[in-house]
Symmetry: C2
Subunit: 381 residues, 2 copies
């Protein structure tokens, strides 16, 4: 199979707390932006894949209906926080299988509305009683081990957020765009030692969309298509429950690198799943962007900064600053990488950005097992 | 693309009201049965697709974990009552795209548990206040028009249920296996004239699973593989809202027939989405199993009976008698057709069954638009 899959256009809403906006409204904005960006007639869209976690059944069809996108196959997918990446992967499969030539992918979530019942409050201060702090606690355990084994410091973890906010200042779609100092990050409320409040992503509302197509179709619209040159996916293996979050990412990333015929040293920009600062450090290692145990020190040295020594990590601000409307995150990652590869990322642009990697991970809150991990590598001609 | 997709094994639980059984338990039984039926080592499974409507996020991963099926990509899909058919379609896409060679599909629902809050009671007597009778009313309107236009009678609709129960007597997996007389069907409580209670499917709990694989892999296990020779999918078009249910099925079925290079006259066994008796009459016409307007008369003449003049329709008892655990239905349909094609359907076996058609439809309750329609054609070598 050598049929390449191209990301022809991307679009998204700003992420944030927008209880006044219905998911349909958010979805429409992102889809319209992606279609406009692709420069394609919406009637060319032959299938749609919609990722969300908490929206009610039939959400994709409901959103598409008002745009006149009816008649086509619409598939709603749910894979926890990797629902967006999964939607992309499904479109990729259909195009590879020649079941369609042009597909729309949409990730959308309205946590303000889904949780207005108070099930999971948006404010982290209320998180503990609602969620039992399962995810922060899991990452905190991993952080503690990392500190013990490799001498990583709380400051190094906190610097992830400092970099994140610094990048997000230049991302008009990010929820949080105010620079934070190291002291501010460290001094924010302790959630699960060593993870402070500003080292946790924030639930948000928002949508992101993209138009994926076959290379043949893409040639009609652009001479420099951005292609998904490798797409790999898996879930956590049962045997490595506690260390699962890192190992799964490493395994899936290896698959992706092999399929693309490149290595981590070739990555110019990387959007990875930094739901917590600790996650970024761990995943930088899992994805091979630095040696094992060096994630904290590399962060501190600024190697993952825009135009640092290594891959620029989370130039968008990542989940930490862009916010995390679960289903939308995986597609927002794709959007950022497409902008980087096209040289359209303005104040946060990586110089000579030619190869990019997406890592989208969905964890099970109940058993700390990775429900889905999607790693995709993108290149521009 | 000429890579055939084979249904190597199928399995299901009995459908029914089983509040004492967790969805995990139902899923395990169906998966184990499908793996056993396929005769394949479970470690050969490379991806899993799980369809359900009302189960919580991460349900597929949760079910598979206890069977040791971890590490592989797991994708949860939701497409209303066509969630099972959609899961099958996704596995089909991955195998076609060579993203995997062996896939597990599972449809599962536990409406007893999902609705123990009373949101949608299992007993139809309580349906009206909870659901506003939207779906029965939609079908009743279609029935009334059919009666007006084609002279179809309430008795002809009711005979669909009589045939359904007659078939289900021989299906050990069916919820309702007691024969009903025409008078009993007509005399049951009126839900939405002319649809009486026994002409409505019943929400149920249950699971169905299948192992899909490439033709190449299938050759290692069987000399007579059952293949999906055509798979078509779409959603309802906005322009034909009221007549939507029929038109969409007809459009998608035409695609499937064309892809398979056969016509409706070639179908020996058909499992179609008879959520209501009226639905079966309408869909028989949409799928081309009889001329438009003749569905009622053909039913009355016994043409859709097992070994009748035309395709045997819903030999399993269909949704009307097997019951309807939303996500599981589409895969239960596949299971029935595989059994028919293999000659393993015992008391309900269709003679010389060589070509079979599945029609799985998911309607939007809120706007009477088809969220998803999947039509697949199966043949055995």
């Amino acid at each position: 199979m050598s049929r390449d899959v191209v990301v022809l256009g991307v679009g998204m809403t700003r992420f944030g707390k927008m209880p006044e906006r219905a998911p349909e409204d958010l979805g429409h904005e992102a889809i319209r932006a992606a279609i406009r960006d692709a420069g394609i007639d919406r009637r060319k869209i032959q299938a749609a894949f919609v990722g969300s976690v908490y929206l009610p059944f039939g959400i994709g069809q409901r959103i598409l209906k008002d745009l006149g996108l009816t008649g086509i196959p619409v598939i709603n997918v749910e894979n926890s926080c990797a629902s967006g990446g999964t939607a992309a992967r499904e479109a990729y499969a259909w195009i590879k299988a020649e079941l369609c030539d042009v597909a729309l992918i949409l990730g959308v979530e309205s946590l303000s509305r889904s949780f207005s019942s108070g099930m999971i409050p948006l404010d982290l201060d209320d998180l503990a009683p609602a969620m039992g702090l399962v995810m922060p606690a899991a990452y905190a355990l991993a952080a503690r081990r990392h500190m013990e084994e490799y001498g990583t410091t709380p400051e190094q973890f906190a610097l992830v957020t400092v970099k994140s906010r610094s990048n997000a200042r230049h991302n008009p779609y990010a929820y949080f765009r105010q620079q934070l100092t190291l002291n501010e990050v460290l001094a924010s409320r302790m959630v699960a030692d060593p993870i402070t409040k500003y080292q946790c992503t924030i639930n948000a509302d928002g949508a992101a969309a993209a138009i994926l197509c076959s290379e043949k179709v893409a040639r009609q619209y652009t001479n420099h298509p951005v292609s998904i040159v490798a797409s790999a996916m898996g879930s956590g293996k049962l045997r490595d429950r506690i260390g699962d979050l890192e190992d799964t990412a490493a395994r899936i990333a290896r698959e992706a690198y092999e399929a693309a015929g490149i290595g981590p040293e070739d990555i110019d920009a990387c959007e990875l799943h930094d739901a917590f600062s600790v996650g970024e450090v761990l995943y930088c290692e899992s994805l091979g962007l630095c040696p094992e145990g060096e994630g904290g020190r590399y962060t501190q040295a600024g190697h993952f900064n825009i135009n640092g020594e290594k891959a620029a990590v989370n130039t968008s601000g990542g989940l930490l600053s862009r916010g995390h409307p679960l289903g939308a995150t995986g597609i927002a990652q794709l959007a950022e990488l497409v902008w980087q590869l096209r040289g359209e990322a303005a104040g946060r642009q990586v110089d000579q950005c030619r190869v990019a990697l997406q890592h989208n991970s969905g964890g099970g809150v109940f058993d700390i097992q990775t429900n889905a991990c999607v790693v995709q590598i993108l290149m521009r001609e």
